[in-house]
Amino acid sequence: MDLNTITEVVRRPSERPSADWHEGDAWLAGGTWLYSTEQPDLRRLIDLTALRWEPLVPTGDGLEISATCTIRDLYAFPRPQGWTAAHLFRTSCEAFLSSFKVWNAATVGGNICMSLPAGPMITLTVALEARYELWAPDGSVRFVDALDFVTGDHRNVLAPGEILRRVTVPEHALRKRTAHRRFSLTRLGRSTVFLVGTQRLGADDLLLTVTAGTTRPVRIAFDSLPDARTLRRSIDAVPADVWFADPNGTPDHRRHLTRHFAEEIRRELTAGDLA
C-alpha cells in the first residue's frame, strides 16, 4: 500500500548507512512487509538493496548470507557436496505463507528483522547455529548468536539505527543431518509450529529448534538422543508464557504439536543411518 507519510527515499545510501540514521527512518530491503501495512510513524526509507551486497558467499568456514539476499536466491542456491543440512534452505523458503512472487523481492534479513514467531529465516538460521553481524550507527560491529536475536513477537535486540549486515552459517552445521516438521492451520498457511532437529554425522546428539509456536526461538540441546519421556519433559519445561497466542494457533495446541513433532523428529533421527 502507499506509505503516504514517506517524504524521502534514500536510493543511494553510503556504504555505512547507519551513520545517517535518525528517528522516522526505516531500512528498506524487499519492502514486502513494510509496504503491507500502515507505517504512519515513518518519514524516510533507506534502500539497502542499492548497496548490492553479494547475496550468498561460500567461505572456508561456511556460508555468508547477506541480509539483502532474496528468498528466491536462497531457494535457488546450489547445495554444495556434503552440506546435507542445506536442503533446509528450500524447506524454510517453502514455509513462508507468501508465494514465489513475494520471494522475488523479500529478503532473508527482512524476515529476520521482522522477528515474527513464524519467520522461517529465523527457524533456519537458529537451527543452523548461525551468527548475525550487526552494524551500529557509530560504526561499531557486533555479532550475536541467531538464537539470541529475536526476543519476542516482533521484538529483537536491534538498537535504533542498527543494521543486520549478514548471517554466517558455520560449515559444521551445514554438514549435519536434519529432520523437520511444520504445521499450519491451513494447508500451506503460516506456521503454527516449525521444528527442526539436527544431529552431527555419526553422532547421536540432538539439537532441537522450536519456532513459530513460541514467541522467540527455543533451542533444546542433548549430547545424546534423549528418550521420549526426557524429550517431552524438556518441552514441558518451556515457560508457559513463551507459547504464542495468535490467529495461527493457541498456546496449548502449539505445545501439544511441539511434543508430537519433536518426538517424530527424535524417532527419525534415531532411526537414521548413524554411520
Binding site: V9, S36, A105, G189, E263
Partner: protein, 905 residues
C-alpha cells in the same frame, strides 16, 4: 527516472512512499487491482522484467529503468495471450476481479509449477470459483460453448464481459480517473461503545489539501437503514450517516475530505476526539439480560424491546410441541453456534460521486443501484430525477454489497462541495466495519418415533445483529427455511435478533438460513445416531414432499409452487456417490475417516418485495439491446439474461447487447440477492424478449401475409411460411411507419419456487493434530432447468468452497474490547487453491419452477449444507460432536479420542 509500462515510456514520477500498484493505476493501467493492498491476494500481480511481483508491496521507484508488464500489456483485446484465452474459455473466473492477477501469475509458470498448483497459486486468492475453474484455465481445459441461434439456453456460453475481463479491460468501480476528484478517509471509533463529546477539527483542517471534515453535526439528522430491500420498512431506521454515539469499535466517527488520500489520512490522524466511554456488551444473551448496556433509544417502534436490546422477536407455535415430545421415543437436544464470518469479496466497497447538469451521479460497488438511489434520495432530500446511481462490473458481493455503506459519504461530500469525490474501503475496513454474517446460537430439540418419524421440532435462535439492525429481522425470518425442510405436525421456532456492541451483521450468501441449517442438520445427524438410523434414511422419512405444506413460521397460505420432489433425488444421488467412493484408504494410520451429509431447501426469491423490469429493443444496428437493472458481480446473471433473451428471439448471444445496472439506462431492479437475479429479473427479461419477438412476428406476418403461426424467428431474420424476411428489411419497413420493436416487462418475486440440495463429504481427521482433510466432496442440487451448465457448476463449486472456508479455515478473532485482531487475509484465512477439494456436482432435473425457462437460482442454497455435512463427517470419523464452528485444528484436537494409542511416551 524512467518508467516503461507495456512498452510505453512515462515521464511521471511516483511519490516517495508510493507502491507500484497505485502508480500503475495513476498511469491508466486499471487492470492492476487492489484486493488487499498487503501482498496477500495477488490481484495486483504485474511483471518486472518478466518476473511476477505483487505490485501493492513493491515500491514504485523499484520499477525505474525496468520493463513493467500489466494485464493490458500481456495481450490485447482480439489478440490475447494464450493464458488470457484459456481463462476466457475455461471460463476461469466469476466476478473477474482476481483474474488479472491469476493470469499474470499463471502465464509465468514453469512445467514444474503447473504440476504443483497448490504451491504455485498460493499467492492468488479467488473467492468466487472454488479454484477448479482456475485449474482448468491454467491447464487449458475448455468449457465455454457457442450456441446455435435459438439454442442458447442449456449451453455453457461465455459471459458477455469475458473477453474484457481476461484482457484487463472490464471496468470495475474504481477503475476510472476524474480530474479534481477528492478523497474521503474515515476515522473509526477505537471504542465499542462511547458518546462523542467533541471533535476538534482544527488541526485536521490545517493539513494541506484537507477540504472538509464531516462529523455528526454536518450530516442530515435522518435515521435510515443501510440494508438494501425494496420495502425499507422491513428494517429499523436506527442509523445515521455519522452519529454522536458509537456502538461498535470501527464505527465511523468522522470523514475527512482531501485532495489526496495521504492528506485525508493525515487529517484523520490529526482529529482530536473526546469520547465518553460507555459499558459495552458483545454477547447477545448478555445483552438481553436486565441491566445490560442499552444500545439504542426507542425512537423507532420497529425495535421490539430497546431496554433489552431486542430488535426482533419471533414466536411461532404450530401444533403442540410438548405433546410431540411426549409422544417421542427419542429426543435429541443440542446447542449449535455459527460465528461471524466475512464475505471477503476481492473488490472492497467503494463509490465515486460527481455532479453533472445539476444531478448527482454515483458510481458504486453495489448489488442494487436502484435501492441505493432511493436511499440517497431520502437521505439528502433529492427528487428522484436528480440522482443517478450505476454500477460497472462489481468484484464480488455475496450479500456484502446489499448494503449502502459507501454511497452516503460520497454523496454528502459531492453535494456539499460540488466536486467529484470518492471513498474506497481498505481491506481492514471490510473486516472491521462492513457487515459480516450474523453470529447465531441455536438450540435445536427434536423428538422422533423409533422409526424416525419426527413428532416435535423446536428451535430457539439467538442472532447477533451487532450494533445496528440492518438485515437483523429478515435473517431470523429466513432461518425458518431450516425448519420448513422437514414435515412435522408440531413445530416451534423462537428467534431473537439482538443488538450488541459489535460490527453490524448483514446479508451473506445463505442469508439467515446457513446458521440454522448448520444447527438443524447437525441435530438431525445426532438424532439419526440416537435412533440407529442412517442419516440419509432419516431425511428421506421426514423431508417435505410435493403437496405438503411448507411450514416454518406459520401454517397458512403461501406463494410457493412446490410440485416436484427435487430433494429426495439429491439425497439418493449423494448416497450413491458416497457409496461408490467408499473404501479408499485413509491418508495414513493416524487419520480417522468418516462421512457426513446434510440437506437444505429454500425458496427461489425473498419473501419481501422484489421487483425487476427489463427493456428489449431491436436497434437499427440489428442488435437487440437488453436493458436490465441487475448488477453483474460474478453470479452470472448477465450471461443467463442474455441467453434467455437470445433464446426467446431465436438468435445467438452475440446479437444481444446488454445494458445493465444503471438507473438512467435501465428500469427498476430490487437487486441481485436472494437468488432473485435469475428468478425475478430473468422472468422480466424472458417476458420483454418474448414481447419483442411477438411484435416482430406479427409485423412480419402482416408484411408477408402469412399467418403469424407460420412465422418463426431465424437469427437475423424471420421465416414466414416458405419465405424469409431479414430483420434489416423489417426494421427499415417499421421505421418508415414510425414503429420500433421494443418492449418493457416487469416481474415480481411471487409466486416462488423451491430449490434444494444435499452435500456429502468424506473427511479424514488427524487424531493428534486435529487437522481435517476433505477426501471427497459431492453436492447434488435441484436447479430446475439449467440455463448455463458451466455457470451452475461454478456457482455450486464456489459456494461449497466458501462454505468450507467458513467451516474450516476462517476465524474472526475479537479481543476483550471487541476489536478484531486479524483484519487481513494473512490472518483471516479464506481458502487458497490448496485448501479446496474438487466437488463433484450432480444435478437433478425438475420442471416445477415458475422462474424463467423453469430455472431455479441456486447460488445461495449451495452453501447451506456445507458446514453441517462437515461436522457430521467429523463426528462419524472421530465419535466427537463439534457444535461450534469453525472446525479449525486447534479447536478440534483437544477432544479427540484415542490419542493415547499413538502416544508419544
Amino acid at each position: 527516472m524512467n518508467y516503461i509500462v507495456n512498452g510505453k515510456e512515462f515521464d511521471r514520477e511516483p511519490a516517495p512512499g508510493q507502491c507500484l500498484r497505485t502508480f500503475l493505476r495513476e498511469l491508466g493501467h486499471f487492470g492492476v487491482k487492489k484486493g488487499c493492498d498487503a501482498g496477500d491476494c495477488g490481484a495486483c500481480t504485474v511483471w518486472l522484467d518478466g518476473t511476477p511481483v505483487h505490485s501493492c508491496i513493491t515500491p514504485a521507484f523499484r520499477a525505474d529503468g525496468r520493463d513493467v508488464t500489466t494485464i493490458e500489456g500481456l495481450g490485447r483485446p482480439g489478440a490475447p495471450h494464450p493464458m488470457q484465452r484459456q481463462f476466457e474459455d475455461a471460463p476461469g473466473f466469476q466476478c473477474g476481479f482476481c483474474t488479472a492477477g491469476m493470469i499474470m501469475t499463471s502465464a509465468t509458470f514453469t512445467e514444474d509449477q503447473k504440476a504443483d498448483l497448490p504451491r504455485a497459486l498460493k499467492g492468488n486468492l479467488c473467492r468466487c470459483t472454488g479454484y477448479r475453474a482456475i485449474e482448468d484455465a491454467v491447464k487449458g481445459v475448455r468449457a465455454v460453448e457457442t450456441a446455435a441461434p435459438g439454442k442458447a439456453v442449456g449451453a455453457s456460453v461465455g459471459a458477455p464481459a469475458g473477453h474484457d475481463v481476461v484482457t484487463g479491460h472490464a471496468e470495475f468501480t474504481m477503475d476510472t480517473h476524474i480530474d479534481g476528484m477528492l478523497h474521503l478517509k474515515v476515522l473509526h471509533s477505537p471504542h465499542a461503545h462511547a458518546r462523542i463529546r467533541s471533535v476538534d477539527k482544527s488541526a485536521a483542517l490545517a493539513v494541506p489539501g484537507v477540504q472538509r471534515v464531516y462529523t455528526w453535526e454536518d450530516v442530515p439528522r435522518k435515521r435510515f437503514n443501510t440494508a438494501i430491500h425494496t420495502d425499507h420498512l422491513v428494517d429499523p431506521d436506527d442509523t445515521f450517516i455519522l452519529d454522536d454515539m458509537v456502538r461498535f469499535a470501527g464505527q465511523r466517527v468522522a470523514a475527512v475530505l482531501a485532495d489526496t488520500v495521504g492528506a485525508a489520512e493525515e487529517g484523520c490522524r490529526r482529529l482530536v476526539v473526546e469520547y465518553e466511554v460507555l459499558p459495552a456488551v458483545f454477547d447477545p444473551e448478555a445483552a438481553m439480560a436486565d441491566g445490560a448496556p442499552q444500545l439504542h433509544g426507542c425512537d423507532d417502534p420497529f425495535v421490539r424491546d430497546p431496554v433489552h436490546n431486542i430488535l426482533v422477536e419471533l414466536h411461532s407455535h404450530i401444533g403442540d410441541v410438548d405433546a410431540g415430545f411426549a409422544a417421542a421415543d427419542v429426543i435429541h437436544e443440542g446447542t449449535y453456534f455459527s460465528p461471524r464470518v466475512q464475505h471477503a469479496h476481492l473488490e472492497t466497497h467503494g463509490a465515486i460521486a460527481w455532479m453533472e447538469d445539476g444531478r448527482l451521479n454515483v458510481r458504486t460497488s453495489s448489488q442494487s443501484p436502484s435501492i441505493a438511489k432511493v436511499k440517497l434520495e431520502y437521505l439528502f432530500a433529492l427528487r428522484p430525477d436528480r440522482v443517478r446511481v450505476f454500477c460497472k462490473r462489481v468484484g464480488g458481493g455475496f450479500g456484502g454489497k446489499q448494503e449502502v455503506i459507501a454511497e452516503d459519504l460520497v454523496a454528502l461530500a459531492t453535494l456539499d462541495t460540488g466536486r467529484p469525490s470518492c471513498l474506497e474501503y481498505t481491506r481492514e475496513e471490510e473486516f472491521t466495519t462492513a457487515s459480516p454474517r450474523h453470529p447465531m446460537t441455536l438450540t435445536v430439540k427434536l423428538g422422533a418415533k423409533a422409526d424416525g418419524t419426527l413428532t416435535a421440532f423446536q428451535v430457539r435462535n439467538v442472532s447477533n445483529t451487532g450494533a445496528y439492525g440492518n438485515h437483523g429481522g429478515e435473517t431470523v425470518y429466513a432461518g425458518g427455511a431450516a425448519v420448513m425442510i422437514y414435515r412435522c405436525p408440531n413445530k416451534r421456532y423462537d428467534a431473537y435478533s439482538v443488538y450488541t456492541n459489535t460490527v453490524p451483521s448483514g446479508a451473506l450468501r445463505g442469508y439467515g438460513m446457513t446458521q440454522p441449517a448448520f444447527a438443524v442438520e447437525s441435530a438431525m445427524d445426532e438424532l439419526a445416531r440416537a435412533l440407529h438410523l442412517g442419516p440419509l434414511e432419516l431425511r428421506r422419512r421426514n423431508i417435505v414432499r410435493p403437496g405438503e405444506p411448507l411450514v416454518a413460521l406459520h401454517d397458512g397460505p403461501d406463494d410457493v409452487i412446490f410440485t416436484e420432489d427435487g430433494l429426495a433425488p439429491c439425497i439418493d444421488l449423494v448416497g450413491k456417490a458416497l457409496a461408490r467412493t467408499a473404501g479408499r484408504p485413509p491418508p495414513g494410520p493416524e487419520w480417522l475417516v468418516g462421512v457426513g451429509v446434510a440437506s437444505s431447501l429454500h425458496e427461489t426469491a425473498p419473501p419481501t418485495e422484489h421487483l425487476s423490469e427489463a427493456w428489449v429493443t431491436l436497434g437499427d444496428d440489428l442488435l437487440y439491446e437488453l436493458a436490465v437493472g441487475t448488477v453483474e458481480f460474478g453470479e452470472g446473471t448477465s450471461t443467463a439474461h442474455v441467453q434467455i433473451a437470445a433464446d426467446q428471439l431465436g438468435t445467438t448471444p452475440s446479437r444481444i447487447r446488454l445494458v445493465q445496472s444503471d438507473t438512467d439506462r435501465t428500469g427498476f431492479d430490487t437487486g441481485a440477492f436472494a437468488s432473485a437475479g435469475l428468478f425475478v429479473a430473468g422472468n422480466a427479461v424472458l417476458r420483454a424478449a418474448g414481447a419483442v419477438r411477438d411484435r416482430i412476428l406479427e409485423f412480419a406476418a402482416a408484411h408477408t401475409g402469412v399467418h403469424v403461426v407460420m412465422c418463426t424467428m431465424d437469427d437475423d431474420g424471420v421465416v414466414c411460411g416458405d419465405r424469409r424476411v431479414s430483420l434489416a428489411e423489417l426494421v427499415a419497413l417499421a421505421r418508415a411507419r414510425g414503429i420500433r420493436f421494443t418492449a418493457a416487462r416487469k416481474a415480481y418475486g411471487s409466486p416462488r419456487s423451491v430449490t434444494s440440495n444435499t452435500q456429502g463429504f468424506r473427511v479424514a481427521v488427524h487424531r493428534v493434530t486435529g487437522e481435517i482433510r476433505i477426501l471427497y466432496s459431492v453436492q447434488a442440487a435441484d436447479a430446475g432447468v439449467i440455463i448455463n451448465p458451466a455457470q451452475v457448476r461454478g456457482q455450486i463449486e464456489g459456494g461449497v468452497a466458501q462454505g468450507i472456508g467458513f467451516a474450516l479455515t476462517e476465524n474472526h478473532h475479537l479481543d476483550d474490547s471487541g476489536v478484531m485482531v486479524n483484519p487481513n487475509f494473512r490472518n483471516y484465512r479464506i481458502p487458497t487453491y490448496a485448501d479446496i477439494p474438487r466437488t463433484e456436482v450432480l444435478l437433478v432435473g425438475s420442471a416445477d419452477s415458475v422462474g424463467p425457462m423453469r430455472a431455479k437460482g441456486m447460488a445461495e442454497c449451495c452453501i447451506n449444507p456445507v458446514a453441517p455435512a462437515l461436522a457430521n463427517a467429523v463426528h462419524d470419523a472421530t465419535g466427537v460432536r463439534y457444535r461450534a464452528l469453525p472446525l479449525t485444528p486447534e479447536r478440534v484436537y483437544g477432544r479427540l479420542p484415542a490419542e493415547q494409542s499413538v502416544s508419544t511416551g
